[in-house]
Symmetry: C2
Subunit: 206 residues, 2 copies
Amino acid sequence: MMSEKTVARLSLYRRLLKLFSDENRHEVYSHQLAEVVKVTPAQVRRDLMVLGYNGIPKRGYEVAKLTECIDKFFNVSKGIGIILVGVGNIGRAMLSYFREGKPYINIVAAFDLDPDKIGRVISGCQCYHIESMPKFLNDNKIRTAILTVPVGQAQGVAEFLIQNGIKGILNFTPARLKLSADVFVEDVDITMHLEKATYFSSIVTK
Amino acid sequence: MMSEKTVARLSLYRRLLKLFSDENRHEVYSHQLAEVVKVTPAQVRRDLMVLGYNGIPKRGYEVAKLTECIDKFFNVSKGIGIILVGVGNIGRAMLSYFREGKPYINIVAAFDLDPDKIGRVISGCQCYHIESMPKFLNDNKIRTAILTVPVGQAQGVAEFLIQNGIKGILNFTPARLKLSADVFVEDVDITMHLEKATYFSSIVTK
DNA sequence: TAGATTGTTAATCGATTAACAATC
DNA sequence: TAGATTGTTAATCGATTAACAATC
């Protein structure tokens, strides 16, 4: 089983490789990736080993082939469809964010309760009533959802999601979801991140 | 020096304590906090030890006093002012998010380049031209900034921020900032989080 | 008292790094 | 060849947990 940190780093390497590719660089060394991601070159080599693609001593890794391997690891070719639940401020920001320049992950539908939002197209994404979600998920074989509902509704909506086949949730609410162990929850706890930033910015006086 | 993880957990404990307080619970055990945060009770006790407030065997921790200690740890009493740079979709979402129910952290000003935004009040926050930032930071002794500019401008704006006294950045851009070591950067890498969620939701079939 | 929880340390665990033979 | 980088493992490091005496 792949560690969460390795997966997170592979996502970063992927982005860096795109930059190298844009600059027409054909090879990259482990220490070049390591510098940006702030790990040792050995760690990078270790991460890349799991992809089953080998670098060449003295030449490094071929940018194109390595990109292909990481894309394969993340199943890019399939084109991943996800849904978003809760079209509030953060929900709309995410619809806009993932509309641009994320070619393989697409938010294919948004769901809400607010009659003002239902039926509208927001940042290119159709907004439906949450009641129509079960049928939608079943028809489209969606496994991942972005959760941007108000905190009080988070647990209930999350349970509703997994009842309908969702296996992974990107949780932007501050709620700590209690769900069965076979569901993956990635928390993005914005308040916590900001409290960390304010805490450390006040003590780094030195 | 406090570990980042400990600070992150203290932020979570703080929120949980507020919930306990709302329920009129006066005491809390380490294992009750541990369950929600998904660590062992020993870890919770260890985290709380650093606050210099002791629990009582058999009775646990007093919710009110413990809250007070964590608030003190995060310097709540001071009322922390932060700024936001880049009033795009995510920037506006953050302005709205931190306007509600975050009593001690306030976004006191937003900055942008877009003439359409400058001079407006967005989610209760005044929007200024980025040129007026140095004076504002100096007058108001701000140390923390939320960075929500387009990725291509992130590094430049971040350098501008630290030139003007910012010591901590909450970075919502996918850029990996290269800054001096005495600046704290908290990355919120949304694409990476989503890629993690999609990866793990596709392999938890079991 | 008996039983449960605390503060605290030693042991454990897992992730990271140093190191090095192999290789281009 | 000489020098640099790779794949890989043993050593290191730091964070977490188990364990237990002290305590209410």
